[in-house]
């Protein structure tokens, strides 16, 4: 097999791909060696996901050629790629919801005899796969009851069941906790050691450095360099990605005035069957961080306050006076703003223009008689776009054409229209590139400095620690720890978040 090793498992030559007027990839050439973990890194919009999807047959390149085991191929669909043993585990898992894990894993390749399913053979094969990958997953569960990490496990098993030789993992850890990430890494390494090639798309640099063998950096759809992971550091990668040196820094924390009044007061909130007995205050100018694992109830607290879910119990007071918020409409009127976790599905109308998105909750303030005053609308939206620095050709560009960072800024602009009293930001920097992250940090900081009460939810602990004046840690739907500026540190927050396996978390982190 030594002769074969010289032939890359996958080789991309001069690949180009455009979506409409946007050049996602230009003249990219990369060789991926068999049996290695090869990372594709870059800012959002650098083209790393697109490249991964081309390998897996999801996208077809406009230019250049794709070679698999030295043979030129032209995949017209993921099915074609799968026939060659190439597949992708997408950012959002793609399991059939009403079939069990077992049925999903063998979907389309069910062992059968004379058209009859061999359920027992299927089980046996499942056990073999589970053994081979050291993945621990109950076969009879339905995907809806699984966490993202478990759905990914099912996807990995599904790939293995099809004798896949190369797996593209597209941002696999963006929705995983630290612990789950660690386990995914172990699985990934085992895959590699078993001879499977892994193309790993991510923008978590520390993860990549810990996991992969080779790193390809992309910038603005072009290849920057491909080098062994051992020769790279987080700094060199960031520099290559940005073409300039940029360190993520948090603005200096300005404590809210000691006599700053309490703006938002939550008492005994129970919501969505997940959150129970959550109470906290947020003062004017204060940023309160909600930390915790995915599924610990942070988003449900946000949604409960905002009226997106009808709370089961609890009272909410604004400026000391109890208020009833039964729908997001009530919350908007009371000048509470929420940037939802899922920006694309719940935050923005992707097909509509930037201006339409910004003005949507505030049209009642923009009407003269029955009419929307277009000029006023454009003026206000334009002001807000400048304030949060949305980079777009014009306000009439559709939101779908913007990068993740700019989409998030549009969401900020939308909610700053009415100068909210309370701003709840749920994962405001998820899927956002480094430059935009920095801008969002500064924005949140300046909003608080202007006297807004801010609730910040983030799965990136450094973000919560870097920005918040106080950190509340949630676990199992309750607030289990509170840290002020002096007592907060990553170790303590992690301990509180994991608690149940505190020793393990402590040992790893």
């Amino acid at each position: 097999m030594t002769g074969v090793a010289a032939v890359p498992h996958v080789e991309l030559r001069g690949i180009g791909k455009s979506f409409g007027a946007v050049h996602a990839l230009t003249d990219v050439s990369v060789a991926v060696q068999a049996g290695t973990i090869h990372a594709l890194v870059g800012e959002n919009g650098a083209g790393k996901s697109t490249l991964g999807k081309i390998v897996a047959g999801v996208h077809r390149p406009d230019a250049g050629e794709l070679l698999v085991n030295g043979r030129r191929v032209d995949y017209r669909s993921p099915r074609d790629a799968l026939a060659d043993g190439l597949t992708i585990i997408a950012q959002e898992p793609t399991l059939v919801p009403h079939r069990t894990v077992l049925e999903n894993v063998f979907l389309g390749i069910e062992p059968r005899r004379g058209g009859v399913l061999q359920r027992r053979a299927m089980r046996r094969r499942y056990d073999e796969l589970v053994d081979q990958a050291q993945i621990d997953l109950e076969p009879d569960l339905y995907p809806r009851s699984l966490r993202v990490a478990e759905q990914q496990k099912a996807e990995i098993l599904r790939a293995l069941a099809r004798d896949v030789r190369l797996v593209v993992m597209d941002e696999p850890t963006s929705a995983l906790s630290a612990d789950e990430t660690e386990r995914l890494f172990a699985t990934t390494r085992r895959l590699r050691d078993g001879g499977t090639t892994v193309i790993y798309v991510s923008h978590f640099l520390d993860e990549i450095l810990a996991l992969v063998d080779t790193i390809t950096v992309l910038r603005d759809g072009r290849h920057v360099r491909t080098a062994p992971a051992s020769s790279e550091t987080a700094e060199t990668l960031v520099q290559a990605m940005l073409g300039r040196s940029l360190e993520l820094t948090f603005p200096p924390k300005a404590e809210p005035a000691p006599d700053a009044p309490v703006v938002l007061s939550v008492e005994g909130l129970a919501s969505a069957g997940i959150v129970s007995d959550v109470s906290f205050d947020v003062r004017a100018g204060e940023i309160v961080g909600l930390a915790g694992l995915i599924g610990s109830g942070r988003s449900e607290v946000a949604r409960g306050i905002f009226g997106a879910d009808r709370p089961d119990a609890g009272t909410i007071a604004l400026d000391g006076a109890p208020v009833r918020i039964r729908s997001p409409r009530d919350a908007v009127r009371k000048r509470i703003a929420m940037l939802p976790e899922d920006r694309k599905a719940h935050g923005l109308l992707m097909l509509r223009s930037i201006v339409d998105n910004i003005s949507l909750p505030h049209l009642s303030e923009l009407t003269t008689g029955p009419l929307i005053s277009r000029r006023e609308e454009r003026r206000r939206a334009g002001e807000l776009m400048r304030r949060v620095d949305v980079r777009a050709a014009s306000g009439s560009a559709s939101v779908a054409t913007l990068s993740g960072g700019n989409q998030q800024k549009v969401l900020f602009a939308k909610w700053l229209f009415r100068q909210p009293r309370v701003l709840i930001a749920d994962e405001p920097t998820r899927g956002v590139d480094v430059g935009a992250k920095q801008a969002i940090y500064e924005l949140i900081h300046s909003l608080a400095a202007d006297g807004m009460a801010v609730v910040l939810i983030s799965s990136e602990h450094e973000e919560v620690l870097g920005l918040a004046h106080r950190v509340l840690v949630m676990r199992g739907g309750r607030i289990v720890a509170e840290f002020d500026r002096r007592s907060m540190n990553e170790d303590a927050v992690l301990h509180a978040a994991f608690a149940a396996d505190a020793t393990e978390a402590g040992a790893e982190g």
């Binding site: 794709l66 085991n69 929420m338 097909l351």
Partner: protein, 327 residues
């Protein structure tokens, strides 16, 4: 080296025409193409009399297509306008004959009966949580039944020419229905583009959850679009009945499919969140123009349906491919 000899495969796609342009302006291109073709091939097509007549014939479907466009944009679907239009026709005839109501009062009340059915649809779909397709199917069955009960299944005839004032009256040689259509389309277009309600309709159809989290009363907006669609069925029904002076429960059976065809041909998406009134106006015109062309050219009318069906399928296919190329 164990490298296989491989036959080079062409990678990438040849420059196909951009499907999004075909989708966005396809109706315009197709409309102009058919219009020009018919103008050349038929000596009668491009005459004032024929075009006037064409607009007159299109008006009822066109009015309902305008109402239906609002529903589509807000992410709904309305199958009941055919039944509603017949029902409104019966109401108009019965009220005019039986109650001694003034003509215009009877017509307006009948059109409002359509609005009422639309409100019913809206409630069923929002508060009742019934899928729009099924809900409007159910109401159309119910409305058909009510129409039969009201008429005993018989034809309702109205004597005298006064009843046909709306349907057959003209101003500047153009039938009143055409003016009603224009007014309704302008009103709906205005509602859609210039008022908050229009923005909300697009928002609800684009992402109901995003709209809700922006403080939009999703159910109210949805129900309102069905109410407008019901009203459009009522108006169309009143026009149709006053053209012929007879009302029958099954007079307009199947017309709802012409309406849906017109909307889709225009390029308004079934998936919601996108679309425009002018599209459906053009779509309706296009649809009727094909029929008109067949008649003028003396081709057998049966083939019309084949062609209409093929065009509809092609329009939806182009839409789907255009969406795909956006990935």
């Amino acid at each position: 080296m164990s490298v296989e000899r491989a036959t080079p495969l062409p990678v990438g796609r040849s420059r196909l025409p951009d499907l999004r342009i075909v989708r966005d302006y396809g109706v315009v291109v197709a409309f102009v193409a058919v219009f020009v073709t018919l103008s050349i091939t038929s000596p009668f097509f491009l005459s004032w009399a024929n075009l006037k007549n064409l607009a007159f014939q299109t008006a009822p479907v066109g009015i309902m297509a305008v109402g239906g466009t609002l529903v589509f944009i807000a992410g709904g679907f309305d199958l009941s306008v055919g039944a509603v239009s017949a029902f409104a026709g019966i109401c108009a005839a019965k009220m005019f004959v039986g109650t001694g109501m003034g003509l215009w009062a009877a017509l307006i009340c009948a059109a409002l009966a359509g609005l009422l059915v639309g409100v019913g649809n809206g409630l069923l779909i929002t508060l009742g949580r019934v899928n729009a397709f099924i809900a409007t199917l159910a109401t159309s069955i119910i409305v058909n039944g009510v129409s039969q009960v009201m008429t005993g299944g018989n034809l309702v005839s109205v004597d005298g020419n006064r009843f046909t004032t709306l349907g057959l009256g003209t101003a500047f040689g153009i039938g009143y229905p055409v003016f009603v259509w224009i007014a309704f389309a302008l009103g709906a277009g205005f509602l859609l583009t210039a008022t908050p309600f229009g923005r909300y309709a697009y928002a609800v159809g684009g992402s109901a959850e995003a709209a809700r989290l922006s403080g939009v009363r999703v159910n109210v907006v949805r129900a309102a679009t069905f109410a407008v669609s019901g009203l459009s069925g009522g108006i169309a029904g009143v026009i149709l009945v006053s053209e012929v002076s007879t009302a029958q429960w099954n007079a307009n059976t199947g017309i709802e499919f012409d309406v849906i065809t017109a909307i889709v041909l225009g390029g308004t998406s079934l998936l919601g969140g996108e679309g425009a009134i002018w599209r459906s106006v053009l779509g309706a015109f296009f649809l009727l123009m094909i029929g008109n062309g067949f008649n003028l050219l003396g081709t057998s009318t049966q083939w019309q349906y084949v062609i209409k069906g093929v065009i509809l399928a092609a329009a939806v296919s182009v839409d789907a491919w255009a969406r795909r190329s956006r990935r």
